[in-house]
Symmetry: C2
Subunit: 423 residues, 2 copies
Amino acid sequence: MNRQTETSEKKLTRRDVLKMAGIGGIGLLVGAGGMKTFFPQPTQAEPSASAAASKGDYIPFYGKNQAGIITPMQDFISMAAFNLTTSSLADVRKLFQSWTLASARMTAGQPVDDEIENPHLPPVDTGESIGLAPMKLTITFGLGASFFDDRFGLKSKKPAPLVDMPRFNSDEINPDWSEGDIVVQVCADDPQVAFHAMRNLARIARGKAVLHWMQEGFQRTASADPSGSTPRNLLGFKDGTNNPIASEPKLADEIVWANSAESPSWMTGGTYMAMRRIRMRIEVWDRSSLEDQEATFGRHRHSGAPIGKSGEFDDLELGRKDSTGKPLIAPNSHVALAHMDGKVKILRRSYSYSNGMDVKTGQINAGLLFICFNRDPRKQFIPMQQKLASADRLNEYITHVGSGLYACLPGAREGGYIGDTLF
Amino acid sequence: MNRQTETSEKKLTRRDVLKMAGIGGIGLLVGAGGMKTFFPQPTQAEPSASAAASKGDYIPFYGKNQAGIITPMQDFISMAAFNLTTSSLADVRKLFQSWTLASARMTAGQPVDDEIENPHLPPVDTGESIGLAPMKLTITFGLGASFFDDRFGLKSKKPAPLVDMPRFNSDEINPDWSEGDIVVQVCADDPQVAFHAMRNLARIARGKAVLHWMQEGFQRTASADPSGSTPRNLLGFKDGTNNPIASEPKLADEIVWANSAESPSWMTGGTYMAMRRIRMRIEVWDRSSLEDQEATFGRHRHSGAPIGKSGEFDDLELGRKDSTGKPLIAPNSHVALAHMDGKVKILRRSYSYSNGMDVKTGQINAGLLFICFNRDPRKQFIPMQQKLASADRLNEYITHVGSGLYACLPGAREGGYIGDTLF
């Protein structure tokens, strides 16, 4: 160990470690430890005092990729699309610069900017997260196809994989819950921290962009299931058993991250997000037999195991037949169709939602805010959804009511900003 | 120690302790420990295996009072009103009997009933909380004034304090979000556990009652603020600083629990709940100066201290004046009006809500699901709200859009059911 390293290590405080984690870190590394060298640098995002209480609580905003993609799912989501009201690219640039600085601070548990104690001005931060820990807050930005129209002179830069989302069989898409120039996905282990972030981003956008839609979601919290087993959707079934393990970087390169084979170079480190708001007819589902429900998913409800097997992670073996020669897992079951011969994979990152009662029907207005990331939706999400839309037994119980496809920008380095490879 | 007690104590397992806590226990006692004798009895509600992992996780359903009233606030709420579609009192009785059994089981982390593994029938429980801990689930039932109309022959039993909620100055009440024959308040430290409970109660009601309205809410989770300081509302201010300490039983008797002076004997152990859905104009609020915001509440934003003081819990001293003779705390500030000369108190138990974007205005549809409990709303909540509605500076930023007043029934003993003192 040379003298310089020694000195640096001596000075290392918990706060420094947190600062360090913000430098070029990616969400994936949080909590993994094992940082070996130390290069102190100024940073715009030092975690707050409360953050320091729990290192694992803080996910760095800056990095090669945006956080909130291969980051393990947090408990809550607040998601919104914005439409730009400006037609100036300089304004868009300013918006993303402000959003970047605010996001880096908020993810570190700080207010959106240093509070200037001028009582004659509105507070810089809306305040409802004062004193709260960062709670693994991540903020992820993407651009819809409409962003690449005539307004900003960026038509030629539109990535080929960012197609218009096709209308699928049995879609009942409400345009009020779909698309948008910009998507913002806020995730955190606390609903007030997530709300605070989205609200302040909307506030910062004033004069440049307005909300187009917004939807909150949840999963069972980690403390309700300390074993960390696969969460269940609101139909009572485990959801995400076959999700590719995103912590294997090679798999993420193959499935998630934009590749120069299909995407322009400004998308290096980015990915594509498909969003579907899927309303579940839970009252109808609740009246169907357990047998029907299990045949619909192709899995046993309690264990999550493929029909006829006992372990959740047992191989599907779609070819197996019962004594009468009928396939054990129906070819039109959800799991059989989504399997896509094992060749097409996406990274799912979905949340349940409940919007109270649907005044029109008197039923509970709940379902799934389906989110997935993929390298090229033309070859991954879209063909998979085409297959599901045409035959999935689950379609009797669900309706797709919102839809969007977005190019999620690469991560930003400190001093840069989200979108700086494009704008 | 006599022989019998000794034997009993020898047999005492953690499961037994949990069972015991269900016998005549009240929410208040959870986690307080100190149980000294042991009378093993059969119980319908044994906590699930996952519950056993964390004793403090489980709040007994049975008791003199319903839980969820003086119980310390959980992180999430799912609240709904139901309207009865039957006009048979026998049906109402059956409904409350079924709801009682299901509630006792769910609050213990169990499915609504023992799962009968008949694949040809719908599952008894909808399944999305399988494997989840009880997460301090409480379920609290109340009756609206409309319950005491001509349908069930109970007109003469209507408690005098259960008046029709008056319309207050500047109210913009939507009947779709107000009143209802029955109110159900579900609270838990997990949103999926709360959703599951409400959904299964709605399912059990089928053929007897339908949903009238439903609203979910949250506060900052306990893990985001391990110090347990007063939570902040979505205007960024601490909310509940002056809430009476409900864990002092004497105070609860005075403020919360129905008294024979005003209430019929069947309400002994019950209370009255006032519900107000309060929409916050957060975009307007966010444009007002810090000075205005603080003058509106009568408190400093960061500390929560009364204007001119430094500690959140410092005395209000409404008489103090600045050097020009102007009161430091404006007489029309929220805190000055709600103070009611220190003579009128209620037990607040409110949650924030966010319902995404308001499609009509493009603004965030968020606010406060105000809930309070009081012994006689004619002398507590209603005069307080009249005072606030007429002058509160906060009215510039909020609108009351939903309203309800309910008689919360006494608790049930094991073998009995919620409402058995009335039906």
